[in-house]
Amino acid sequence: MVEEYKKPLPEMDEELQSFWDACKTHELRVQQCHTCGTCYYPSSICSNCDDPKMEWVKVSGKGKLHTYTIFHQLYHPAFKDDIPYNAAIIELDEGPLLLSNVVQCKNEDLKLGMPLEVTFEDVTEDVTLPKFKPV
């Protein structure tokens, strides 16, 4: 019997449905402009091209740690047992910056530039969150 997941769920705007659907199948996808090849997340229109052709593409899931913070203050009761936990910005190899958590890593071992790869957490029947672990 799975315990009820009490942490906040993502908003899942219509524009990002493809991202979250892909997460459910344990795939990381971002939008890419097929005119110039630049990748973007969250979805947007290519800022380089006058005639961008945006499509969702699968990415490698690899990236590096751009920055992070460690929460010592509790902001939401569901995170009580996680304190102190990290929130991190991961720079995907393909370019976009993504907000997530670094897991399977002690907070003291976090270091800017460290290589990471995506790992998926099925938190509810409908929602899978992309997290990142050290390579």
């Binding site: 906040p8 769920l9 913070t69 010592h72 203050q73 902001y75 939401h76 929130a87 910005i89 958590n101």
Partner: protein, 383 residues
């Protein structure tokens, strides 16, 4: 077509600040506007434009004109966090320029201290993409920038502490500052609890009840009033979306765009600035602005503040009243109010001698967990 010195601030209203229970946010707005109008030597009927900073939780600031007895031709809510005070100033100037009004009141009011609000917390069953990853609040967002600054440039927590201590030193010389009578050393800063690493409690701004308002009009009208005008010599805005295009939003604050416009309009250089009132939601925010404005080189903010370069008698006096860190959290209205006081010679024990030109900054808005904050710059000149 330049608006250099064409507009002036003629009235300032600052209510009691701190832990002031029994007054609603609107109550503070009403008090602040009333004080600002009296300070200007105007009658309430003169004020025909109104802009209020809308707040995160409570609405209803649009009711304030009725409550205070003014008759504006527009009632605008404006929200760009700590950048509101200066950004709304630009909007007011534009409105007057367009002939919509003669005297515009701009106001901030909040009772966050009495409401015991934890800024950044959300309702327990609310959905949020950032909160799904445990990301809450502006402190954490700025902590992301602080971590990066520390690992890229070797900035230390003690150096951030130097900013907090400098603010506290000023506040300790100003009797109406919230933290007056509460000295702080670097060791005190280091002993304060970690909130969102690397930011400690003393890296974070206060939570306050209070209201601040100002009245702005043309300099021509200002010259007919009893007090010397505070000229708006230059004004500018920027936004950190511009840093995001190069993935630098956690490294810089897009001060450049804002500074360029404001300084160009004012016709000044950095060395002409006598006093800098820099928006200080967190110590790291001040540090990034010291670099962004060019008071020191990028990456060198840590050693700059450690050397005492922002003290009263130093290179550039910063946040001379104690700021949002130690005077009171009037958001962007805090540095603005202090700049006006300095130019009026009302800085008390922290008055900067012959202060003629003040730099006022604002920073804030919806960061979206991505440091996508607004920036605003005003150059004020003593009349």
């Amino acid at each position: 077509m330049s608006l250099h010195d064409k507009y002036s601030i003629v009235g300032l209203g600052v209510t009691p600040q701190g832990k002031v229970p029994g007054v609603s946010a609107n109550g503070f707005r009403v008090q602040a506007i009333d004080m600002a109008i009296k300070d200007a030597g105007l009658r309430r009927q003169d004020v025909d434009g109104y802009i209020w900073q809308s707040d995160y939780v409570e609405g209803g600031g649009g009711r304030v004109p009725w409550q205070v007895g003014i008759s504006p031709r527009f009632i605008w809510s404006f929200q760009t966090g700590g950048a509101t005070a200066v950004s709304a100033m630009a909007a007011a100037m534009g409105a007057i320029e367009a002939g919509l009004a003669n005297y515009v009141a701009v106001v901030f009011g909040d009772n966050a201290a009495s409401k015991r609000r934890l800024v950044g917390a959300i309702g327990e069953s609310a959905r949020s993409t950032t909160a799904a990853f445990g990301m809450f609040g502006p402190a954490a967002e700025h902590a992301l920038a602080a971590t990066r600054h520390m690992q890229l440039y070797g900035t230390t927590s003690r150096q951030l502490g130097a900013i907090a201590v400098a603010a506290r030193e000023n506040a300790n010389k100003r009797p109406n500052a919230m933290m007056h009578g509460k000295p702080m050393t670097i060791e005190d800063h280091q002993n304060s609890r970690m909130v969102v690493e690397p930011l400690r409690l003393f890296d974070c701004c206060l939570v306050t009840d209070g209201g601040i308002a100002y009245v702005i009009t043309t300099s021509e009208r200002a010259n007919a009033l009893k007090r010397a005008p505070i000229y708006v010599s230059g004004i500018g805005t920027g936004h950190n979306v511009n840093e995001a295009y190069t993935k630098s939003q956690f490294t810089r604050l897009d001060v450049t765009s804002s500074k360029e416009r404001a300084f160009q309009m004012a016709g000044i250089e950095l060395k002409d600035v006598d006093v800098a009132e820099l928006y200080d939601c967190f110590t790291i925010t001040v540090l990034l602005q010291l670099e962004g404005y060019g008071f020191c080189n990028e990456g060198e903010g840590g050693p700059f503040v450690e050397a005492g370069s922002i003290g009263l008698d130093s290179k550039i006096p910063v946040n001379t009243g104690g700021g949002n860190l130690s005077w009171a959290y009037g958001q962007g209205f805090t540095p603005l109010a202090e700049a006006i006081r300095q130019l009026r010679g009302e800085g008390g024990a922290t008055q900067v001698k012959n202060a003629e030109i003040a730099l006022v900054s604002g920073h804030g808005g919806t960061g979206s967990g991505n440091m996508h904050f607004s920036h605003a710059t005003a150059i004020l000149r003593r009349g």
